[in-house]
C-alpha cells in the first residue's frame, strides 16, 4: 500500500485528507472503496467567478503515466488560467517517489490554454512524451529523461490554431510508431455572449458555433508528424462532418484488426472512423449503430469509456452526456453496436447531471467492469440550492460510481463511495491506473478550479485475483492494442487505453480483475498491425510485460 506523503518541494503544500472511516459502526454505510486524497494546491476555495468564456468551464484533463522510468506512475496536471484569462497556462508534472509521495518536478513551459493531453513515446527513445490539445495552438513536449520536458524542435506541424479538446496516440498504420488523432471542438468566438433561460449571462451552447474538422497526423518514424487529414479522408466535403469533438479513443472497433478512432461529439452524431488499412478512414458510426442513441438522437457526448461490460468478448462503449441525457451504452455485437442503455440500468441515472471524464475499471477485482464518471454542469443551474448560490456552485455536481452486477447491468453505489461522490464540484478530467502498483486501479480527477484529487482504491480483495498487463513494442506501450486474458475457463478482454475518458490519458498498463480464477492459462494480444500473439506462462497477481515478438503467433 502506498502513501501520498507530503513531499512538495515547491511552495505548494499537499495536505493529505484520508476520509475513509477506519471502523464504521454497526448500521453505518458500507466503507467506500475509494479513499480520497485531496491535494490542496493554492487557492481553489477563492477561485474567481467565471466570466462566460467557454474554455474556462471545459477543462482541464489530467494524465497518469510513468514519466521518469522508475516504474511508478506519475501525474500530469493541466492547470487552468483564472477565469477571464485565455493564455499563460502551465502544466505541472508530479513525480511519484518510491515512498508513494509526489513532488512537483517541473512546471512545464507555457503551452497555451491546455485542455486535453495524451501521452506516448513519439520518437522511440523509450520515454513517454506529452501532447497538449489546446485552445489555441497545440504543443508537443519531448521527454528528456528524469521527468523533464522540452518543446519539440522545428516548426510545429499542428494545424490551427483551433480549439483542440482531446487527442489519442496510436499506431494506426502499423508501422511501429505512434500517430496522432486530435479532436477539435468548435470555432469559438470569445466575444459571443449567451444567456441562461433566466437572462443571466451563461456559457454559450455549442449550437451557437460551427464545428471544426479533426486532424490526423502520421509519425514519420523519427517523431516528426505530417498532417494527413485530407488524404486520410477526415476532411470530407459534407459540412455536416464538421462535428464538435470532445472525446476520442483509438481501438479496433470493427473487428478487422486495424485501429479505428471513435469520436464523441457535442450535440452531433458521434463518429467511428473505420480504418481501411490503406491509410484512409470512413465514418461508419451510423452504419454500425454508434452515432446516435436508440431514439435516433445525437447527444451531447463528452467522455468515452471502453471495455467489455458484459463479458461477451465484444468491446462496448459508454459515453457521458449533458444533463437531460443519460450515459449511453453502445453494446458491441460486431459488426455493429447497439444502444443497450436501458438494459444496463444506466437510463434511470444521471439525467440531471452532466458527465465528462469516465472509466470502466474493475474496482474490486471481481471480474467485471465498474463505471466511474465525473460531473459538472455547463449550463447554469437555474436555482440556488442548499449547497449555496455562488457562481461555481451553480455548476457543481457530484461524481458517481456504478457497480457492475456481473451481467453488464449497473447499480449506482455513489452513496457508498462518499469520498468520491460527496464533493460537489466542477470536475472534468479523469485518469486511472495502478498508481501504487498494488494490483488495483486508482483514479485521479481534475477540476475546473485546478483542484486535483487522488482516489486510492481500497476495495476489499475478498480473495479476488488480478493481472496487470503491459503489452509493448520496441517503442513502448502498444496503445490501442487488444488484450485477452484466459483464466480458468473464462476470458476477459480490454484495450490498452489510447485516448478515452475526457481530455485525459491513462496508465497504459491494463489491469484485469479475475475474481476467483487463480491461474492464467495465457494472454493473447492483437497488435496495432493486426498480428496476434499468445503468451503462456504468465503469473497471476503480478505484472506481465508482453513484448511484441516474444510470444507465439496466433
Amino acid at each position: 500500500m502506498f502513501r501520498f506523503s507530503v513531499v512538495g518541494v515547491s511552495l505548494l503544500a499537499f495536505a493529505c485528507v484520508d476520509t475513509a472511516s477506519p471502523d464504521p459502526p454497526a448500521g453505518a454505510l458500507a466503507s467506500p472503496f475509494l479513499t480520497e486524497i485531496v491535494l490542496h494546491d493554492g487557492p481553489q476555495p477563492d477561485w474567481p467567478d467565471g466570466t462566460g468564456l467557454a474554455p474556462e468551464i471545459m477543462g482541464p484533463g489530467v494524465a497518469m503515466a510513468d514519466l521518469d522510468g522508475d516504474g511508478l506512475p506519475d501525474i500530469v496536471q493541466l492547470t487552468m488560467p483564472e477565469p477571464g484569462q485565455m493564455e499563460t497556462i502551465l502544466a505541472r508534472v508530479w513525480l511519484q517517489d518510491a515512498g508513494g509521495g509526489f513532488r512537483s518536478a517541473e512546471t512545464l513551459p507555457a503551452t497555451g490554454f491546455a485542455q486535453g493531453i495524451t501521452i506516448g513515446d513519439v520518437d522511440g527513445d523509450r520515454r513517454p512524451d506529452l501532447f497538449f490539445a489546446n485552445y489555441g495552438r497545440d504543443r508537443l513536449l519531448l521527454n528528456k529523461g528524469g521527468g523533464r520536458f522540452t518543446p519539440a524542435p522545428g516548426p510545429a506541424p499542428w494545424s490551427g490554431p483551433f480549439w483542440s479538446s482531446s487527442a489519442a496516440f496510436c499506431d494506426f498504420d502499423g508501422d511501429d510508431d505512434l500517430d496522432l488523432y486530435v479532436a477539435h471542438y468548435l470555432d469559438y468566438d470569445p466575444g459571443k455572449a449567451c444567456f441562461a433561460p433566466n437572462g443571466a449571462v451563461g456559457y454559450c451552447s455549442p449550437e451557437v458555433f460551427d464545428g471544426v474538422l479533426d486532424h490526423l497526423y502520421r509519425n514519420d518514424g523519427q517523431g516528426k508528424f505530417n498532417d494527413i487529414s485530407v488524404s486520410a479522408g477526415l476532411l470530407l466535403p459534407d459540412r455536416g462532418k464538421r462535428a464538435k469533438g470532445l472525446g476520442v479513443a483509438c481501438a479496433d472497433l470493427t473487428g478487422d484488426g486495424r485501429l479505428d478512432f471513435y469520436v464523441a461529439n457535442d450535440r452531433e452524431s458521434n463518429q467511428l472512423w473505420a480504418n481501411d488499412g490503406a491509410g484512409r478512414f470512413v465514418d461508419e458510426a451510423v452504419l454500425r449503430g454508434a452515432a446516435v442513441n436508440r431514439h435516433g438522437r445525437p447527444e451531447a457526448s463528452m467522455g468515452i469509456a471502453i471495455g467489455d461490460i458484459d463479458g461477451d468478448q465484444a468491446i462496448d462503449l459508454l459515453l457521458t452526456h449533458l444533463e437531460g441525457e443519460n450515459n449511453t451504452v453502445y453494446g458491441g455485437a460486431l459488426p455493429r453496436f447497439q444502444d443497450v442503455t436501458p438494459r444496463t440500468g444506466m437510463a434511470t441515472h444521471d439525467f440531471a447531471l452532466t458527465g465528462f471524464g469516465c472509466a470502466l475499471i474493475d474496482l474490486e477485482l471481481d471480474g467485471d467492469l465498474d463505471f466511474l464518471v465525473v460531473n459538472g454542469k455547463v449550463r447554469r443551474r437555474a436555482s440556488a440550492d442548499s449547497e449555496g448560490g455562488g457562481f461555481w456552485e451553480r455548476y457543481a455536481e457530484s461524481n458517481q460510481v456504478f457497480e457492475n452486477l456481473g451481467d453488464g447491468s449497473f447499480e449506482e453505489v455513489s452513496e457508498r463511495e462518499r469520498p468520491w461522490a460527496r464533493p460537489r464540484e466542477v470536475t472534468r478530467g479523469l485518469a486511472y491506473g495502478d498508481l501504487d502498483n498494488d494490483g488495483d486501479t486508482d483514479v485521479v480527477v481534475a477540476n475546473a478550479d485546478n483542484a486535483l484529487r487522488l482516489y486510492r482504491n481500497d476495495a476489499p480483495r475478498d480473495g479476488n485475483h488480478w493481472i496487470r498487463v503491459l503489452a509493448r513494442t520496441a517503442n513502448g506501450p502498444a496503445l490501442g492494442a487488444r488484450v485477452t486474458v484466459h483464466a480458468r475457463g473464462r476470458s476477459w478482454n480490454g484495450v490498452i487505453p489510447s485516448g478515452s475518458s475526457y481530455a485525459s490519458a491513462n496508465d497504459p498498463r491494463l489491469l484485469f480483475g479475475l475474481g476467483a480464477a487463480d491461474a492464467v492459462e495465457r494472454v493473447d494480444v492483437v497488435w496495432a498491425d493486426g498480428s496476434q500473439e499468445r503468451f503462456d506462462g504468465v503469473a497471476i497477481n503480478a505484472e506481465a510485460v508482453l513484448v511484441r515478438g516474444e510470444g507465439r503467433p496466433l
Binding site: 459571443k192 437572462g199 443571466a200 449571462v201 437555474a382
Partner: protein, 460 residues
C-alpha cells in the same frame, strides 16, 4: 375530497415530495434574472395569490417557470394545479415533462395519469412508452406503443419506438417492416435513416445500409412530435426568449418580425453587445444600412473586441464599397482570432478588390494553409488567381473548393467561367448548369449558362 382526487393528490405529492396540500407559492432564485423576467414572475405569482384555488393560475406560473429553466418550481406548481383540478389532462402531462430530466419514475407515473385521463392523445402515450423504455420496462413500453398504433397505425413515433424494441430482441424482420412503413409515411426524419441503415446491415442488405447511412448524415434533425397540448401560450419575457424568437423569425426570413423581437431584447439588455449585434444584422438584411452600422458600432463600443461585430461590420462596409474600413476591421478581428481562416479569406478578398493584389493573394494563400478544408478559402483564392490570369492555379483551387463542398454554387460558376474562357465549353456548361440548379435565383448564373449554350449551339 373524493377518493379519486385524494389518490391523485397523494400521487402528485409523491412526485415532488410535498407534504402540505396548499403549499406556499414556489419562488425560484431570481438572482441575476432580467427585470422583465422578474416582473413577469411577480405578475404571475400575484395572479396565483389572487386566485389560489384556480388551477389555471398555478399552471400559468408553472409554464412561466418552465420557460426560464426553473423546473423544480414548475413541477411543484403543476402538482398544485393537478391537486386543484384532478380531472384535467394538462397538469399531469406537463408535470411529466417537468420531471423527465430528474426523476424518470415519477415522470412515468405522471404520464400514466395523463394517459388515464385522455388516452386518445397520442403524444402522452408515446412519452409514456419512451419513459418506460428508459426504465427498461420493455413489455409495458411495447404495450403502450402497440396501443398507440392501434389508435393510429401511421404514427411514426410509435412505429419507430416499437422497431427499436424489435431490434433489441432480435426481431429484425419485424423491425425492418415497421421502419420501412414509417419511412413510407415520412421519409424525412434522421432517426429513421439511422435505424434503417442499421437494420439493413443486420439483414445483409449492405448497399441499402450504406445508402441510408449516407443519407442519415444530411437528413433533417429528429422528427418533432406534433404536440399542441404542450405548446401553451405564454407571454414572452426576457432576452433569451426574445432572441430565440427573433432567431426563429430570422431563419424563416421574417426579418421585420425578427427585428421587433431583437429590439425588445435590446430594451432588456442595452449594454450587451450581442443585443446590438442582432439588431444590426437584421437591419442590414432589411436594407437599413445606416442604422445597422450604428448598432454595429454600439456593439463595438461596448465590446471593442467583439469578433462577430468586427467581421459583420466589415462585411457590410465591404459590400458598401468601403474597402479600407473593412480591411481595418478584418485586421482587428484577426487580432482577436489570429489565423481564423474565414476572416483571412475575407480580408484577402477585400485587399484584392481594392487593388492590393499581392497582399490579397498572400492572405488568401495563408487562409488555405490555415484551413485546407475551407471551401470558401479555396474559392476566393481561385477567383483572385483567375483574375490574374493564373488559370492553372485558379482551376486547381476552384476544384478543391468543389471537392470540399460540391454545393458551392459560386465555385461552379467561376469554374464554369474559367473553363469557358479556355474553350472547354462542355465542361463549362456542366458547371454552370449546376450553379443554376444550386442558385436558381441568381441571374448571373442563368445568363452565363445561356451564353455558353448559345456558343455550343453555334459551334461546329
Amino acid at each position: 375530497m373524493t377518493g379519486a382526487r385524494a389518490a391523485i393528490l397523494l400521487a402528485s405529492c409523491l412526485a415532488v415530495g410535498c407534504t402540505d396540500p396548499a403549499p406556499d407559492i414556489p419562488l425560484p432564485d431570481l438572482a441575476g434574472a432580467e427585470p422583465e423576467i422578474v416582473t413577469a414572475v411577480d405578475q404571475t405569482r400575484d395572479a396565483v395569490r389572487a386566485e389560489p384555488e384556480n388551477s389555471d393560475r398555478w399552471g400559468a406560473l408553472a409554464d412561466r417557470y418552465m420557460a426560464h429553466g426553473w423546473r423544480r418550481e414548475a413541477a411543484a406548481c403543476y402538482v398544485e394545479a393537478e391537486r386543484l383540478d384532478a380531472g384535467r389532462f394538462d397538469w399531469p402531462y406537463l408535470l411529466g415533462h417537468a420531471l423527465s430530466l430528474r426523476d424518470l419514475e415519477k415522470a412515468q407515473a405522471a404520464f400514466e395519469r395523463a394517459v388515464s385521463i385522455d388516452g386518445a392523445y397520442l403524444p402522452a402515450r408515446i412519452y409514456l412508452a419512451q419513459t418506460l423504455v428508459r426504465l427498461d420496462r420493455v413489455d409495458e413500453a411495447r404495450a403502450q406503443f402497440e396501443q398507440a398504433l392501434a389508435q393510429d397505425p401511421n404514427n411514426v413515433d410509435a412505429l419507430f419506438g416499437v422497431s427499436q424494441l424489435d431490434l433489441d430482441t432480435g426481431r429484425h424482420d419485424e423491425a425492418r417492416a415497421r421502419l420501412e412503413r414509417a419511412y413510407r409515411i415520412d421519409p424525412e426524419p434522421g432517426e429513421l435513416h439511422h435505424a434503417l441503415a442499421q437494420v439493413y446491415l443486420i439483414v445483409g442488405e449492405n448497399e441499402l445500409a450504406r445508402r441510408f447511412a449516407a443519407s442519415a448524415a444530411t437528413a433533417p434533425p429528429r422528427r418533432t412530435m406534433n404536440d399542441p397540448r404542450r405548446e401553451r401560450a405564454l407571454p414572452q419575457a426576457g432576452s433569451l426568449q426574445r432572441m430565440l424568437s427573433g432567431r426563429d423569425f430570422e431563419q424563416q426570413g421574417r426579418f421585420a418580425e425578427a427585428l421587433v423581437q431583437y429590439e425588445l431584447a435590446l430594451g432588456n439588455n442595452p449594454d450587451k453587445a450581442a443585443s446590438h449585434l442582432n439588431v444590426a444584422r437584421v437591419k442590414a438584411r432589411l436594407g437599413d444600412r445606416e442604422d445597422a452600422i450604428d448598432h454595429y458600432r454600439d456593439a463595438l463600443r461596448i465590446n471593442p473586441t467583439d469578433f462577430n461585430a468586427l467581421v459583420q461590420l466589415a462585411d457590410l462596409l465591404e459590400r458598401s464599397g468601403d474597402a479600407p474600413a473593412a480591411i481595418e476591421l478584418y485586421r482587428r478581428a484577426l487580432a482577436e482570432q489570429p489565423g481564423n481562416a474565414r476572416v483571412l479569406y475575407r480580408l484577402g478578398t477585400a485587399l484584392a478588390a481594392s487593388g492590393r493584389i499581392a497582399e490579397g493573394l498572400a492572405t488568401l494563400e495563408h487562409a488555405v494553409e490555415t484551413d485546407p478544408s475551407s471551401a470558401k478559402a479555396h474559392l476566393n483564392l481561385g477567383i483572385v488567381l483567375a483574375q490574374q490570369d493564373r488559370l492553372d492555379e485558379a482551376e486547381e483551387h476552384l476544384r478543391d473548393a468543389l471537392r470540399l463542398d460540391p454545393g458551392e454554387a459560386e465555385a461552379h460558376y467561376n469554374l464554369g467561367f474559367l473553363l469557358a474562357n479556355r474553350g472547354d465549353l462542355r465542361d463549362a456548361e456542366r458547371h454552370l448548369a449546376e450553379a443554376v440548379r444550386l442558385a436558381p435565383n441568381d441571374p448571373a448564373n442563368r445568363q452565363a449558362l445561356g451564353a455558353i449554350r448559345n456558343r455550343l449551339r453555334s459551334s461546329p
